[in-house]
């Protein structure tokens, strides 16, 4: 039994509904920014349930937005929703660790432009509007995400 766990850790660690990924080093630094020191933003986003709803709306938005839907065509949406929830929770000062990949490698193959980056920002704004997140809090989250433009946009 023990031998089995050691032999196939990656497979055993795959959360339900997700597709196994090539192993990588898990670190909060992969989230791409330092988190806020307290949880005020996390609370303003609606905590665990609020963040989950924002991410659901965001993923629904980006996968139906003609400007960017193609970028997500091959995504594992169960994993995408989970890692996005973790990332927003972590950056907003919530009680989460980020277990996803770093921003450079997850976007490297997509050839993302500034226009596409901004289309996602807009979908995130729509999602937060729909959840009645105050503009001030929305901008605080965007302040953490905006510098990722530097590594996400590659053309």
């Amino acid at each position: 039994m023990t031998a089995c766990w050691i032999a196939a850790p990656a497979l055993a660690d795959v959360p339900p509904g997700e597709i196994a990924v090539t192993p990588y080093e898990i670190a909060d630094a992969n989230a791409g920014a330092d988190p806020y020191p307290d949880d005020r933003l996390y609370i303003a986003l609606g905590g665990e349930d609020g963040v989950a709803r924002i991410i659901d709306r965001l993923v629904d938005g980006v996968t139906t937005d003609p400007r960017i839907e193609g970028i997500f065509a091959a995504s594992d949406f169960v994993r995408l929703r989970r890692t996005l929830r973790e990332q927003v929770c972590y950056l907003a000062g919530g009680p989460c660790a980020y277990t996803g990949r770093d921003m450079t490698s997850v976007h490297a193959d997509h050839g993302i432009t500034t226009r596409e980056f901004n289309a996602l920002v807009e979908q995130l704004q729509f999602a937060m509007d729909a959840e009645d997140v105050p503009a001030r809090a929305q901008n605080q989250l965007l302040a953490k995400l905006a510098p990722m433009h530097r590594v996400i946009v590659t053309r």
Binding site: V121, L142, A146, P147, H149
Partner: protein, 291 residues
């Protein structure tokens, strides 16, 4: 000091322009976030209402081309100013603008011996080059977006402006602007240094008692929502005409992005003393369309 300023602007422009604009690929329209193209200043350059900002006009990104057109009106106690024009933004890097300003003297025209509702104006041709920084994305750095620009202004009443004491009927403004969006505070800030000898922005000619000088201009806005910004601006001005004192300009504004094509701005303008008529204050309205 002035020569250092002019040399710095020229050097920065010469070293930044060729590489930044020579990227390969077809130009695509659109892509900027709402309000991040700024509005159109009365001089035609993208910015706030009174001041050119470091933002490049149009909705384009670094891969595209965009454009805006504006119609603005300032109505104060004794004068009305109308400004309209158009500007093109290339690769979110270079901006080229034209603006026409017309000053209606209304009843003041009679008192000034020009005739009631005497109108005159100027054409303003501008170019602006973004040099360093990114106002929107560099949220983890203090470095603002910095741009250098030039505005060439030609009065259409050379005899009149000379009779008022101006040295010249045309002039050149050089400016350096630094703009920063501070998302964590929902603020947008701009600071500009303008080297200019324009009297009342050039409407009353250029130069007079003294030559050009460097004047600071500042703007601060609060992002109420992603569509609405409110704030104010203060623009120091030269004071070179013997016949009339010239004051600084200020405004308070609300700019609303109706959609990616249309931004409406309304506000209060305080222009101080204009051509011996003191305490000029009133409304500022502006509509800007663009892609």
């Amino acid at each position: 000091m002035v020569n250092v300023f002019k040399s710095a602007v020229a050097l920065a422009v010469a070293s930044t322009a060729p590489s930044a604009l020579a990227q390969i690929g077809p130009l695509e329209p659109g892509g900027k976030l709402l309000l991040t193209r700024g509005i159109s200043s009365v001089d035609g350059a993208g910015g706030g209402g009174l001041t050119p900002w470091a933002l490049i006009t149009g909705n384009e990104t670094d891969r595209g081309v965009g454009a805006t057109a504006h119609l603005s009106h300032v109505r104060v106690n004794d004068f009305s100013l109308t400004s309209y024009g158009a500007a093109i933004g290339l690769r979110d890097r270079l901006e080229v603008s034209w603006s026409r300003q017309e000053l209606d003297t209304r009843e003041a025209g009679e008192a000034l011996g020009l005739g009631e509702s005497f109108s005159f104006g100027q054409d303003i041709y501008g170019a602006k080059l973004r040099l360093i920084g990114d106002a929107v994305y560099d949220q983890d750095r203090w470095l603002p977006q910095v741009a250098a620009g030039v505005l060439w202004k030609q009065s259409d009443e050379p005899d009149l402006v000379r009779a008022l004491g101006a040295e010249d009927d045309n002039g050149i403004d050089l400016y350096l602007s630094a703009t920063k969006l501070i998302l964590s505070q929902s603020l947008i800030a701009n600071a500009t240094l303008r080297y200019s000898d324009a009297n009342q922005g050039g409407l009353l000619g250029y130069g007079g008692l003294e030559g050009a000088s460097i004047q600071p201009e500042v703007s601060l806005g609060y992002l109420v929502t992603r569509k609405l910004a409110v704030g104010g601006e203060y623009r120091f001005k030269p004071d070179n005409l013997a016949f009339a004192r010239e004051d600084d300009f200020m405004d308070l504004f609300a700019a609303y992005a109706v959609n990616p094509a249309l931004t409406l701005t309304a506000g209060y303008a305080g222009l101080g003393s204009v051509a011996t008529f003191d305490g000029q204050r009133g409304v500022y309205l502006s509509a800007q369309i663009g892609f």
